[in-house]
Amino acid sequence: MARKTELYARHEALGGRMIDFAGWILPVQYPTGPIEEHHTVRRAAGLFDIDHMAQLVVRGRDALPYLQHMVTMDVGKMVMGEAHYSLVCYEDGGIVDDIFVYRMPDRYFIAINAANAEKDTRWFQAHTAGFEVSVENVAEETYMLALQGPRAEAILQALTPANLSQMPYHRAIDSTVAGVPTLIGRTGYTGEDGFELFFPREKATLVWDRIMEAGAPHGLKPIGLAARDSLRFEAKMPLYGQEIAAHINPIQAGLGWAVAFGKGEFIGRDALLKVKLEGPKSVLVGLEMVDRGVPRHGYPVVSAGQAVGEVTTGMFAPTLGRYLALAYVPKELAALGAEVGVQIRNDVKRAKVVETPFYVPAYRRK
C-alpha cells in the first residue's frame, strides 16, 4: 500500500497529479506541466517534496574506518561540514546504491535512495562487526525537501541564520529554517545550485509553507517527479535501476571519479581495480537522435542489425531542445560521433554518440 507524505494535502491543493513512486504517493507534475517546471528550476527555483528518500546516521568511535570500508570515496579526506557523493558496492563491484555522505561534528549523515532504503539499511547494519559503530535509519523521523535553482540561495537566506553566501557547493551545516532545526546541505539532483533540507517530520507543512511564501516573489514553484527526472538526466546524474544497478559497476557508469582506489581497502575494491585495469566492456554514453524519435528506458541500441546495448534513460531534453539518451554501448562504439541505432517500436532510428553531461551543472561553471 503506497504511503502519503505529510504534504499530500498541499500537493492536492496545488493540483498535483499523484502517482505511486517507490511505495510513496507523490506528484509527478502540477498543472503547468513538467516542461514548464523544468525551465522554472533552471531559471528561477523549484521546491521538491522528496520525503520518499531515506537517511542513515552513523556514529561511534570507528565511524570513519567503518565508512572507509563501506563506501567507495575517501571519507578520510572530507573536511568538517562537507557533503560528498559516493557509491556503495558489492564485492563483485556491482552497485548497492549511490549516496551522499555528510560529515557533521557529531555524526555522519547519509542520504540514500527510497527504492533501496531497506536493502541499504540491512547492508550497512550487516557489516558493523569489528567496528565500534551504530547505524540508525532515521527516515521515519526525518523530512526531506529540495530547494533548487539560481534563486534558491536568496529564498532560503530569508529563512535561516546560516550565512549561505559563505557556503560553497557540497557543504552542509546544522542550522535552522523557519525556526526549525535543519541540516542544510548545498546539494541536489538537478544540475542547479540549491539545497537539500533535513528536519523533523512533524514540521513538514510549516517548512514547506514558509519556503513557498518566501519564494513567491522569486518565481518559486513546486516541482514534480517528471521534471526531477529530466533535470537530473540533463546533468547526467544517475538513477538507480537505470544508469546504475547491482549488475553495473561504477567504472562503466562513468563514476570512476567517485572511487578512491588510493584510500585502502573497501568492499568491491579488488573487483573494481580489475575493471579499471582491463577496461569495461560496455560503457555509459550520451546519444543524440539523428532521426526524430523519443528514446526511452529499455529500448535496444542497435549496430549492424544486432542489439548491442540498451537505453537507460531517454527523453526530449527541455533545456537542450533535443531528443537525447543515456545508454550502455560496447566500448568500440563509445567514441564521440560514433553512429548507432535506437530501436523505437518497429523502427531503428539513427543516433550518434555525443558529449555528456548534456547540461553542465551551474555549480561547475563558476
Binding site: 497529479r17 513538467p34 514548464e36 517528471a226 526524430r292 524519435g293 523519443v294 526530449f316 531528443y323 517500436r345
Partner: protein, 131 residues
C-alpha cells in the same frame, strides 16, 4: 474540457471532422490534458490506407508513448508536418492547429456513427467517475 461541436468522437479519445470530401483527425482536449506535455508525434506517410480502429500513429508525452487509432477508415492525404518542430501545438490547440492527419474517407457515414460532442462529454464524465 474543451470539445469541438463540429467533430465526432471515439472512445479512445480521437476526434474526426468532415471537411468537404475530406476528414481531419487528431486527439481530444481530454487526451492531451491526460497525456500532459507532448514532445513528439509519429505520423504515417501520405497515401497509406487505414481501417477504422487501426493504429496509425503514436503520440509521445514526457512520460509515455500512446497509440493513435483511426476513427474512420480512409486514405491519408496530408499529415501535420508542423508538429515535428512544435509538438506542443497539440496541447495548445488540439482541435485546430494540433490536427494529426487529413484523409479521404472510405465511407463518410462512418463518422456519423461516432459520438457527438455532447455524448463524448458524457462518456468522459462517466469514465472519470469509474476511477
Amino acid at each position: 474540457m474543451r470539445v469541438d461541436k463540429a467533430s465526432r468522437y471515439t472512445r479512445t479519445h480521437e476526434w474526426v471532422r468532415l471537411e468537404g470530401n475530406e476528414a481531419v483527425t487528431g486527439i481530444t482536449d481530454y487526451a492531451q490534458e491526460h497525456l500532459s506535455d507532448i514532445v513528439y508525434v509519429e505520423l504515417p506517410a501520405v497515401g497509406e490506407h487505414f481501417d477504422k480502429g487501426q493504429v496509425y500513429g503514436v503520440v509521445e508525452s514526457v512520460k509515455a508513448a500512446s497509440d493513435c487509432y483511426m476513427p474512420i477508415a480512409g486514405t491519408v492525404t496530408a499529415v501535420n508536418e508542423a508538429l515535428a518542430d512544435s509538438p506542443s501545438t497539440v496541447n495548445e490547440d488540439p482541435y485546430g492547429a494540433g490536427w494529426f492527419v487529413r484523409l479521404t474517407p472510405d465511407d463518410p457515414a462512418e463518422a456519423e456513427a461516432l459520438m457527438d460532442a455532447d455524448a463524448y462529454e458524457q462518456f468522459v464524465a462517466s469514465s472519470e467517475g469509474e476511477h
